[in-house]
């Protein structure tokens, strides 16, 4: 009831004390102190907070998986149908009509092994890119690490990837392909693809909070990206200069390696994969920084 009069001596004491605060959420009663200030350094990523909220990331990814095929007749079989039908069409057009070379393996197998990773990337990037604008109430009404919102669809897409993988396994049995020991690299390749989709997704979703143009440019961008990735054609049909140019696209190394480790028809191009890994990590890291840098304005702009 009674208003506290300002205690100047104590305020001075507390100000000195502020430098030693411990911004953790885990020990609520004892040492917990949270400071909210206007500025927020470039490298202040606050890992502790990400760790504190990590359950939420999985909840968001799970939500994404659960709602994806709700109220559809075919449910999760869409995860298979999408790459399967694309493969059939590509095999008829590019493999049949255009007689596209396919590194000496059946074109159906060639294109499906590429499409598998490509469609994962495409869906992850599309959903990540639209995620911040699509979840505007989460931005303006609750606090959480914003980075989880574009990350969740990239994680959720792995479920579709896993389902679609069964078709590849069946095709490999049919065509009698056995993966070599290099298949142990597969998780790393998929993980790098996830980082790439997330990294580009961080950039695009952050920009789209301010500039909605991204929503229109994104499908177009993704469509073009497929034609500069070795999904429907092998890299070696291009001349040396063009091959070099193509290798700047991090998906080139990832898709080639993905195909090579699974089918074992050609040796894995470790240089190409290494280069893709470096570019991917640069894109991911810059995406994280850009999103963390701009996120404080999201609630005001979205």
């Amino acid at each position: 009831m009674v208003q506290e009069s300002p205690r100047i001596d104590e305020i001075a004491f507390q100000r000195a004390d502020l430098k030693t605060v411990n911004p953790t959420m885990t020990e609520p009663t004892s040492d917990f102190e949270l400071i909210i200030r206007p500025k927020y350094g470039l490298l202040d990523l606050n890992w502790r907070e990400l760790k504190e909220y990590h359950e939420l990331l999985f909840f968001l990814a799970l939500r994404e998986i659960k709602i994806r095929y709700k109220q559809t007749v075919m449910g999760a079989s869409w995860a298979v149908l999408q790459p399967l039908f694309t493969m059939v069409v590509f095999t008829l057009i590019f493999g049949g009509l255009a007689q596209m070379p396919s590194e000496g393996i059946p074109y159906a197998l060639f294109s499906y092994s590429g499409l598998l990773l490509w469609i994962y990337f495409q869906n992850a990037l599309t959903n990540a890119g639209n995620s911040l604008v699509g979840n505007a109430p989460l931005l303006s009404k609750v606090y959480m690490p914003r980075i989880f919102i574009p990350t969740a669809p990239c994680l959720a897409g792995l479920a579709d990837y896993g389902i679609a993988m069964t078709i590849l396994a069946a095709m490999m049995v049919y065509y009698q392909f056995v993966p070599t020991a290099a298949v142990l690299l597969l998780p790393a390749i998929v993980f790098l693809t996830l980082l790439l989709a997330a990294g580009v997704g961080y950039w695009l979703s952050s920009i789209s909070v301010k500039y909605r143009d991204v929503q229109f440019a994104l499908p177009f961008f993704i469509q073009l990206l497929m034609f500069v990735s070795p999904v429907i054609y092998p890299t070696d049909i291009l001349s040396g200069n063009l091959q070099w140019l193509l290798s700047l696209n991090p998906l080139t190394g990832l898709i080639n390696a993905h195909r090579a480790v699974l089918l074992g028809h050609v040796p894995v191009d470790y240089i190409g994969l290494g280069m893709s890994a470096v570019i991917t990590i640069v894109i991911f890291a810059s995406g994280v920084l850009y999103l963390r840098r701009t996120e404080k304005y999201f609630a005001d702009l979205v």
């Binding site: 009831m1 009674v2 208003q3 506290e4 104590e10 507390q14 502020l18 605060v21 959420m25 609520p28 009663t29 004892s30 040492d31 917990f32 102190e33 949270l34 400071i35 909210i36 200030r37 206007p38 927020y40 909220y53 359950e55 939420l56 909840f59 968001l60 939500r63 659960k66 709602i67 709700k70 109220q71 505007a136 109430p137 989460l138 931005l139 303006s140 009404k141 609750v142 606090y143 959480m144 909070v209 301010k210 500039y211 909605r212 143009d213 404080k296 609630a299 005001d300 702009l301 979205v302």
Partner: protein, 426 residues
């Protein structure tokens, strides 16, 4: 250990928040910025170099909250209450100043954030809880309590899109009510659901407060604020006007309203909302500006609004209040249910007449909202208009007295004189 518990749980020092205004849209098209930069390089540079049109949503706010205190934050629309809560919840950042919070913060700015219509009640409890900052284990522990409070046990495995709007709100509030932080920030969320459920929510809030947790409560419902809070902060124009006991704060708030009569307000189109209120005006036909209004004068209220696209299930709600007490509420769909079924895109103008010779002299405020009946407001402006009624026409003997009371119905008295004692009508 030593001095920690003696320190205030929240300290707000010199807090300010600046917003840019003067943009039609809250977002910009990239091409627009681009062509501006190319075609008018000098102007763009100058615009970027010069400070833009800005306003301070909050300016130099200072206060402390002691552990276990229940603090009410009151003030008119645009006073900065919600901005303050958003900064405390870390949704947006301050422009200046600093806040220290010594406890786990849970904020409840909206009920049902993150609810997905396709998911079942059970799934939504988990997702919504996680979004509000609960751990899975915490939700597991409280799960039974949450469903019991919500009263939707039977429909736990039904997608929430099949729920009635009331059920939806009850479930959402139940999750939020079981948040267990040391500092709870609550914004106007009690303004949802039916009266019975509101009462239940208010009870739950009181319970939370009595458990010794610290609560910051923003509301326009003075009754609720008075009931829950001990101390109050009155904000006006982004500044602290008063802090002290809740009774004094409410008194100051109510009398503050009375000094600022507002007969007409205009608002900008909200680019996000499907419906925007453009203009609200209260007038007494035949009266000139500044003339006093009599309790017998006809008073009309005109609401102009814009509907962005064809919408269903939306009403325009008007409430008349006096001293923070709602006297009545009226909906435009009361007379025209077709408007609830479909409201086509376009500009609308609605007019209502307030009853004559009913309201007593005093100061009245008008609340306008566009909302979904039973769910909540899409857009709302509490106390957007203020007008005063005087008792001008009656003769001076009556006028000099203030009889009090809200209403002044023309009540008919029949008085008879009789010489007999006792009952005369046997």
């Amino acid at each position: 250990m030593t001095s920690r518990n003696n320190k205030p749980i929240i300290e707000v020092k010199g807090l300010s928040k600046e917003y840019r205004i003067g943009m039609d849209r809250t977002y910009k098209r990239f091409t627009e910025s681009f062509t501006n930069a190319v075609c008018h390089p000098i102007r763009t540079l100058r615009e970027n170099a010069q400070p833009k049109d800005t306003f301070w949503a909050l300016k130099d706010i200072n206060f402390e909250v002691e552990r276990g205190e229940v603090l009410g934050i009151i003030g008119r629309n645009g006073a900065g209450k919600s901005t303050l809560l958003k900064i405390l919840s870390r949704i947006t950042y301050p422009t200046e100043g600093e806040i220290v919070m010594r406890g786990r913060v849970g904020s409840l700015l909206e009920v049902g954030t993150g609810f997905h219509p396709e998911l079942t009640g059970r799934e939504n409890i988990y997702f919504n809880g996680a979004i509000l900052g609960m751990k899975k284990k915490e939700i597991d522990d409280k799960f039974d309590e949450i469903i019991k409070f919500s009263g939707v046990e039977k429909f736990l495995d039904t997608p929430v899109k099949r729920y009635s709007s009331g059920m939806n709100v009850r479930l959402a509030f139940s999750v939020a009510a079981h948040l267990d932080p040391e500092i709870l920030l609550v914004d106007e969320v009690l303004a949802v659901g039916d009266a019975e459920f509101q009462k239940k929510c208010l009870g739950k809030m009181g319970e939370v407060a009595s458990e010794g947790r610290t609560v910051l409560f923003v509301s326009h419902n003075m009754g609720a604020v008075r009931k829950l809070c001990y101390r109050g902060i009155l904000l006006s124009g982004g500044q602290t006007v008063y802090q002290g006991s809740i009774e004094d704060a409410i008194d100051k708030y109510v009398s503050g309203i009375s000094t600022s009569v507002a007969h007409r307000v205009t608002y900008d189109i909200d680019p996000i909302k499907p419906i925007s209120i453009l203009e609200v005006e209260v007038e007494s036909p035949g009266k000139h500006y500044g003339e006093a209004w009599d309790i017998s004068d006809p008073i009309t209220l005109t609401i102009k609004y814009h509907v962005k696209f064809d919408i269903k299930g939306v009403n325009i709600s008007v409430a008349l209040s006096r001293e923070g007490v709602v006297l009545f509420r009226t909906w435009d769909i009361d007379d025209n249910i077709d408007l609830l079924r479909l409201r086509k895109a376009g500009n609308y103008s609605a007019r209502i007449s307030l009853p004559q010779n009913v309201l007593n002299s005093g100061i009245y405020t008008i609340y306008i909202a566009a909302g979904q009946p039973g769910i909540g407001a899409i857009i709302q402006y509490p106390d957007c208009l203020i007008f005063e009624l005087d008792n001008l026409k009656n003769d001076s003997s009556q006028k000099s007295y203030s009889r009090g009371g809200i209403f002044r119905f023309p009540i008919k008295w029949e008085t008879q004189r009789s010489d007999k004692l006792g009952r005369s009508y046997d």
